[in-house]
């Protein structure tokens, strides 16, 4: 028995729409198996993972959980929307985690160094600095790629470690809060430097989620309705065709990296100016890497990414509630997310290929007949 792929003449619209759902379904099955192997009741585990955080939809008493969902989804969506532009244009930026951290660091400059500056302009400046910081950090691999043809995958990833260490040095060193009881971290930001909450009555979701939605819509419009979006996609699919069309691949490399860096930086500063309220050494719970999964689950479409971001945010929250309720290790979350990406990639094959199990005699016979028929025609 052998698995054979037959290229479809056109990509399948049906499977384009279905593949993320098939992948999710398979992940749930695999997850159930994983939880049973861990000795937990799989139905309980999946309930806490995927339903419990959503009870706020019908139960006003749990509405705060939806806010937490928005808090977790915001950075994932922001980063993944930027990454979609990168991946569509064949630029493999996998250093969003680093751009997130540098955005948070650069944006924190004002509230940490000038804590006494109380003005409405502080917050917009912080957000701007965060975006600039993330974009500048993403410009490094872009520059090397355009100028020297250096592999951007490796350089952008290496810069993640550098960013983590740099942030660690800052919050344990010159930016450390002298009254922080030897915990690494800066002083708490003044209220002028805190992102306001959207609906403070019911929970603490902040404007970062709104930024994420706006970014998704704007980038979706850019990709599907403008020449720039066309340029991004053409250069991604066929650099040669793009060059004949007069598009500059170097410019698009910079465009994709700067855009995704800026969005990752915005996610970073929104995270520290939002729920964390100060800069510390563990500001990210792997958002930059999980966002890669979000981008693919959303099929690199910014609107799909919004849904995908919420689903991945659910796994973070669900991981917490499953840990509290039935003692599933919080480490299971990352394994779960990794499996999801595997299934997403595997199911995307169905879009371009028909999968055929070859080798069974009956199938062989049918195949020969079909072959003769096409030759006859």
């Amino acid at each position: 028995m052998r698995i054979e792929l037959v290229r479809r003449p056109q990509h399948s619209a049906l499977f384009s729409a279905l593949s993320p759902f098939i992948a999710l379904g398979l992940t749930l099955v695999a997850g159930a198996i994983m939880f049973s192997l861990l000795g937990k009741n799989p139905v309980d585990a999946l309930y806490y993972y995927f339903i419990d955080p959503l009870t706020g939809i019908w139960d006003p008493g749990n509405r705060w959980q939806l806010h937490e969902l928005a808090i977790k989804a915001a950075p994932l969506i922001l980063i993944a929307v930027g990454l979609s532009v990168c991946y569509l244009s064949n630029n493999w930026n996998i250093g969003a985690e680093g751009q997130f951290i540098i955005g948070a660091v650069v944006g924190s400059f004002i509230p940490v160094v000038f804590p006494g500056w109380h003005s409405w302009i502080v917050l917009p400046l912080m957000l701007l600095l965060g975006m600039l910081g993330g974009a500048a950090y993403a410009a490094i691999p872009a520059f090397f790629k355009v100028k020297f043809n250096t592999n951007e995958i490796l350089t952008s990833l290496m810069l993640v470690y550098v960013a983590q260490l740099f942030n660690d040095w800052l919050v344990r060193g010159i930016w450390r809060n002298p009254e922080g009881m030897s915990f690494p971290g800066t002083i708490r930001f003044s209220e002028w430097a805190i992102l306001p909450q959207v609906w403070p009555e019911s929970g603490r979701a902040h404007w970062g989620f709104v930024f994420a939605l706006v970014a998704a819509v704007v980038v979706w419009f850019m990709l599907s309705k403008t020449l720039k979006g066309f340029e991004v996609k053409v250069l991604g699919q066929s650099p040669r065709a793009g060059r004949f069309a007069g598009f500059s691949s170097g410019k698009v490399v910079f465009f994709a990296f700067l855009l995704s860096g800026a969005l990752a930086g915005l996610a970073g500063i929104s995270e520290v100016a939002g729920p964390i309220e100060h800069l510390n050494e563990k500001i990210s719970i792997g958002y930059g890497f999980t966002a890669i999964i979000v981008a693919f689950l959303g099929r690199l479409n910014p609107l799909g990414i919004v849904a995908a971001g919420i689903i991945l945010a659910l796994t973070y929250l669900g991981g917490e509630s499953a840990q509290i309720a039935i003692g599933v290790s919080d480490k299971a979350v990352r394994a779960f997310q990794g499996m999801l990406l595997f299934f997403v990639l595997a199911c995307d094959t169905l879009i371009h290929y028909r999968v055929r199990i070859a080798g069974a005699p009956a199938a062989k016979a049918a195949e020969t007949k079909a072959g003769e028929a096409t030759q006859g025609a």
Partner: protein, 304 residues
Amino acid sequence: MLEQILITIATAATPLLIAAIGELVVERSGVLNLGVEGMMVMGAVTGFAVALTTGSPWLGVFAAVIVGALFSLLFGFLTLTLVTNQVATGLALTLLGLGLSGMIGEAFVGQPGIKLSAIYIPGLTDIPFVGRLFFGQDPLFYVSILLTVGVAWFLFRTRAGLTLRSVGDNHGSAHALGINVIGIRYLAVMFGGACAGLAGAFLSLVYTTQWIENMSAGRGWIALALVVFASWRPLRVLAGAYLFGAVSIGQLHAQALGIGIPSQLLSALPYLATIVVLVLISRNRRLTMINTPASLGRPFVPDR
């Protein structure tokens, strides 16, 4: 003193060398597996767990190699049979490996491990100045050297090696000549996985002898960079791995001496060095063009 420093450099270089040699074979067959970090960390946790539960570090090493190879099969099935994007699938393997290893290793955090002891040959190991360097290191050091020489010989001196390189350079022609492209690539991917698993076992059974989450700490990625740095030549991988070993040991010594540079910035040195080296090597476009396997990362669907 000098002997001691050289031995520590070898200890830092060996896991990089083993993983990079494995990835070199994979890339020579035309497949780019970015999952080295994930396979390595799976090897590390498997090696540690098996050694601790059975009491035998050698069983740990063996299990790590097997798990590395099996884990790489996941990548192989997706990229070779289902023709998924190799970059994305490799990333998925890394993310899955980091997640799974964290889960498996949770029970072993903080437990003292078992060390794979260094070899001792009476007489030879006792030679002053060079005895321990040449005859008294851990067994995997010798494995890494043999592996490098063996792969160099295999790739450039055997018919099978030529076949593997032809698959990496032009899979279409290789297929037309009746070579089983997919089969050869499966074997190469599994060899890479086994090597990454072995490198992981080195980390948890020789380098630190404990399990720490994410203990590969980017070494899988540095191994990938080494392959590019070495322009896909085994002996240059050896040189590169020792260069990186020297950089990381150098920064550790500088930290211990306390020369006034913050430790975090020194710890960033190996990563920064990787970037610098990649930029320098890629500036020479001709060199990279000549040596890069021409089908590297390209999907292959046999026409029937």
